[in-house]
Symmetry: C2
Subunit: 705 residues, 2 copies
């Protein structure tokens, strides 16, 4: 069934006078964008919020490759169109049952003097921000062209505070640094931590989504929407003038975009508000993507899962089956003749234990990594034929596991690590997806760890972004849901392809086993990474001392158990993992009850409190139910939330179960100290709830009928 469109929009269309300045307001009239042409015909825009400038005059255009005259200046306006749009659509899954898409639009048709080339800049103004993109209609004088650099500026009004990660062509898996814009350069090197694949381009280069706060209390978010067949945009800062400029990810030859008109760029987005909660609530990014292109979406379902994974991440177990092999030749190496190591986790016995646990506690699925041949030499070798995605290790019986899972009412989740060898993955994709369907797998976690093959391409270059999209669309043909790790960070494409139920593309929970993440990390991610779509953050770790899993790993999970529970609400995703080992959950079954209870699809979301780097509190109503769930994650300093439950139905009575930090809890010194209390609540209830450093709370609210 195609998502319903409730058609309530009105369109009006005007050809304005051809003056060199055009104005566009948000439906609320709080935001105003002024487009203008400079004297030399360079397009520029500025943005104001409540009559104060947020983006100073910023130029727009492209530097082209070769001898072509660039698309930077010498433009005249030949036409402008304005439109208003107001529509409500129903996502297949999401934070809201329905999403309103309301904006005013200005399309500026530019013609370049001398070349007669046409470029349209289309602006869409929502109440929470501005989106714009470049469009190249079919024309004689501009058909194929190569972008040397996109020159879209975002000129800040001052030395704002930013929560940033280093601009990188290959990874977003960094901790956030909070600093003034002027401090980025000096803090850059220490912000770059090791990753399996990484390539920075500038000491003032940062990634989007970027969240900033001005000294006047304005929140500004820069990102992009609908990144299709284009290179991923980073931002490079002129830190003398506080002007960001787009910096696209190059290909092996340094080129940044191969274009064929008619075509469009992704949308560049600027969200602005004096209330941080508006940034979290915004559906601008989704709204700037195309409607769903999958006809029948009945097979797409949110998934709560566990997995044979955390024990490998922590080093307790291994993906590899043997320690004998310095190198594997798939199809030649005979695994029945090697000595198994004692640490291979993806074996029949263990997987059945996980299936039993999933079944007993109502999980939809079980992910198993390390099930297939090739893990002995999968990483860092630039190995082309690294996996075939269909051949299990001797101790993993696909049919037996499939039958067992089916008998227990649990779905197996497939794992396709590509090791960045994209051609190899594409060569095997049809067979791999068919193998999934033949064996009862509906969803795949794919991975792109390490440098990309072909060599010279990056994780975020146009060629490879095209690959990720190919995988999503081909998976849809097989009715397979995709959760792509190490792929480019999402830009709302899940509206168009809702089988993209998750991405990693940021520093996930795994880093808690690789040395730890900052305690306030999860108070930033919803303002940055989650702007583009759900993250498979894999929360739910209860054992914070990793040395208990692996004596050689002294990493500590910088979070309290209550904080871990809250993540199921604050980190919106239709795909939620309970990442820890069954035996750890069995030690804390009362706390684990929240993970069992919490919904993964929602009718409504209320953003109660939010301050990036400090705290986030969100309430969500379970889809098709009267149950509510509240999550609060807290940063470095202890804090007491005061929240009104006035979103509850008036007159109804509810029972709240509050999972909170104990008073003496602390992410580092006492992370497992929590309290669980129940309390009758109504829409008139006010709650006052402490969260410790790196802590939080989670509340389930069920109607008393």
């Amino acid at each position: 069934m195609k998502p319903l469109f409730i058609l309530s929009f009105t369109v009006f269309f005007t050809v304005l006078n051809l003056v060199n300045s055009q104005t566009l307001q948000s439906p609320s009239a709080e935001l105003t964008m002024e487009f203008s042409l400079k004297n030399d015909g360079t397009p520029a825009y500025q943005l104001s919020y409540k009559n104060k400038v947020v983006i100073k005059p910023s130029t727009l255009g492209f530097e082209l490759k070769n001898d072509e005259k660039s698309l930077l200046n010498d433009f005249t306006i030949i036409k402008t169109n304005t439109t208003s749009f107001d529509d409500t659509w129903t996502p297949v899954w999401g934070e809201e049952k329905q999403i309103r898409n309301r904006y005013n639009e200005l399309a500026v048709h530019l013609k370049q003097n001398g070349t007669d080339r046409i470029m349209i800049i289309r602006f869409r103004m929502f109440n929470e921000g501005l989106g714009f993109r470049y469009e190249f209609p079919e024309q004689k004088n501009l058909v194929y062209f190569v972008i040397k650099e996109e020159r879209s500026q975002f000129a800040m009004t001052g030395d704002h505070t930013a929560f940033w990660i280093p601009g990188d062509y290959d990874t977003q898996e960094y901790d956030y640094t909070e600093s003034k814009l002027s401090e980025i350069r000096e803090k850059f090197d220490s912000a770059v931590t090791d990753n399996a694949s990484q390539k920075q381009f500038s000491k003032t280069g940062v990634q989007t989504a970027l969240i900033m706060k001005t000294s006047e209390g304005l929140y500004i978010n820069l990102h992009e929407a609908a990144l299709i067949n284009y290179s991923c945009m980073h931002l490079n800062l002129d830190d003398k003038h506080f002007v960001f400029e787009s910096h696209l990810t190059p290909d092996a030859q340094g080129d940044k975009g191969y274009m064929q008109a008619p075509c469009t760029t992704p949308w560049r987005t600027i969200m602005v508000s004096d209330d941080a909660r508006d940034i979290l609530a915004s559906k601008m990014t989704l709204n700037l993507n195309d409607p769903c292109k999958i006809e029948d979406t009945s097979w797409i379902k949110p998934v709560k899962y566990i997995g044979v994974w955390w024990e490998m991440i922590t080093g307790k177990s291994s993906w590899a089956y043997t320690d004998d092999l310095p190198a594997v030749q798939l199809g030649v190496t005979d695994y029945t003749k090697v000595t198994p190591n004692k640490t291979h986790a993806a074996n029949n016995t263990k997987v059945k234990r996980y299936i039993d646990f999933a079944s007993a506690h109502g999980f939809d699925g079980v992910l198993v990594e390390g099930w297939n041949e090739g893990w002995e030499d999968w990483f860092g070798k630039s190995k082309d034929y690294v996996f075939d995605f269909v051949t299990p290790y001797p101790d993993f019986n696909v049919q037996e596991i499939h039958d067992y899972a089916k008998s227990k009412g649990v779905k197996m989740i497939m794992h396709h690590e590509t090791s960045g060898s994209t051609r190899n993955y594409e060569r095997h994709m049809d067979k791999a997806y068919q193998f999934m369907k033949d064996n009862g797998y509906d969803a795949v976690k794919s991975g792109y760890v390490g440098n990309i093959l072909p060599r010279g391409e990056y994780h975020y270059s146009q060629w490879i972004i095209n690959h990720y999209q190919y995988a999503i669309e081909k998976a849809a043909d097989y009715e397979i849901m995709v959760n792509a790790h190490e792929a480019v960070r999402p830009t709302g494409i899940c509206r168009t392809y809702p089988n993209l139920i998750g991405n990693e593309s940021a520093r996930g929970t795994e880093f808690q086993a690789f040395g730890g993440s900052k305690p306030n990390h999860v108070t930033i991610l919803p303002f940055t990474r989650l702007i583009g779509g759900p993250m498979d953050y894999t929360p739910g770790v209860f054992e914070m001392d990793i040395s208990k899993l692996n004596p050689n790993n002294n990493s500590h999970v910088n979070s309290t158990i209550a904080n871990q529970l809250a993540l199921y609400v604050t980190m919106y995703s239709p795909l939620q993992m309970a990442a820890d080992l069954p035996e750890h959950y069995e030690q804390f079954m009362d706390a684990f009850q929240f993970i069992k209870d919490v919904a993964i699809d929602w009718d409504k979301s209320i953003y109660l409190e939010a301050e990036p780097g400090r705290y986030i509190t969100i309430a969500r109503k379970e889809k098709g139910s009267s149950n509510w769930f509240i999550g609060n994650v807290n940063g470095n300093n202890p804090r007491t939330s005061t929240i009104k439950l006035d979103f509850l139905d008036k007159g109804k009575k509810y029972m709240a179960t509050i999972y909170a930090d104990a008073k003496d809890a602390h992410y580092k010194t006492n992370p497992q100290a929590y309290t669980i209390n129940t309390k009758k609540v109504t829409s008139k209830t006010k709650l006052s709830q402490l969260s410790v450093s790196g802590g939080g709370f989670a509340i389930s609210i069920k109607e008393i009928k």
Copy 2:
């Protein structure tokens, strides 16, 4: 059926004394190779022929990337093995019914001091030359490594005459230059002519196979065999010392080979003889390849074909369906709504005319280029999704053509132009091959015109060579024969995968419509390009004045008609085209009779006369028949061949039909002047036959029963 192996070989094995010098002789004892380690542990070899040095001491090894110690020196010999091998095998198709594979072998096991890395250099000495390769067995200290450059030297003894084309990462489609080695540098720039994709690397860089002649009358050929999962080797000349060194084709990052032990390099081959005919007769290159890996080869059959092709090459017709479209979006562009041009050749009416002609004259197949959507913007745009390989233009009805061809007993030949967009081809390959099988196509001509995608890779880099091999092996899965144009030049892989029935990979007949090739071009190709395998040279052009096809094209075919006929014998291929238009053949039906009669598969080949750049005369006996065919191609100067027919069965009588240049014929001024005579011949007959400049003769000999 797997080719039969007639097991008559003997093997003996010895561990020689571990001295620093080893000798290997050919079975005939005419060739002697001496391997030695220099004082610094650098491996070196030299080669003598009839007690005269042919290759002076030449070093062997590899420069590795990064901080690794290279594999250049510090070696000690830890073991040597010698073996003799003598075997006869039956090719699926070929110049001979059976091929003898006889050689002496020396394997030198080297260990590098300090690193304890093992490298084996394996030499195989045939009567006609030496092959050697590097082998890296499974070992602890050398598993994955990256080749910065292979450093295999071929030190010439003097300033030989060479027939060379410029070293290039992307094309071999050059005319040959005949010069002294010392003259390569000065002649290099003029030897580089325009091509759709080209990239030279050195002013003394040349390609293999390279044929040289010494002042003492020795012929030396340098090439490689079994180029699988490695980069194509060029030769770079130190023109002060006349030392060639291997120069591998780099990838986008400049790397030349990603290796995983156990592995081997291709074979480097040096053929030597004082009789040029031995070079042509050699089966060394095939013998150095693995035996056939296709179990059932019954579906692989030699093909004589015509095609809707030459009229596009000459510019008389077009591949594109319309002139309306500046750019095509496959799946979006609606071809039923555009204005067809009047020049699109691949239409039902014309194709049926070709099918009729093929059927009437006993051709196996009809190739049609330009049948599928996308030709309007296929070239030079770095366009990724350029063809889908299954969607015909509106005027080409696949089913109708299929039915018509079937009714006439003719097979259609598929055309897959990739425009160098290798990922796109791989993405569509399964569907494209299945489409072929569904529609009666057994063979495909594939093309790689223009620069390679992904950008930064070259036609001859390891990544793309891997692609060509993927296409061949996948085609074999579908029982499809492959004729790949613009792919890397062959290296005998057709022994292992005999479904590779042809390649272009040199300057083919098409260049006769692009300004012309040198008249002696075809007297060189058998010494160079054909060493690695058959070429789809597309001979048989009878109308030499291209302006008669296209008034805007003043190109001239530098060949006589008799020369064109001879090519079917001298340019061995199991795939032979009659390239010209049916209406041209209809003007010369007596000469055309030879093309109809000539065989395309052989029991025996006799190399009667040969001198590179001057002349080649070959006699071949048709497979399973008593018919013989003789071809002579001649270079710039008129020449009379004197040939004995003593290869004919004694006591039998034959009727010879001699297609010869008229006395006043000339490739340029009078190319269509020929004579046809018949004559009774026996094994005692001697023939004396004139060939004019750029001329030749062709003789069919049929037993009188």
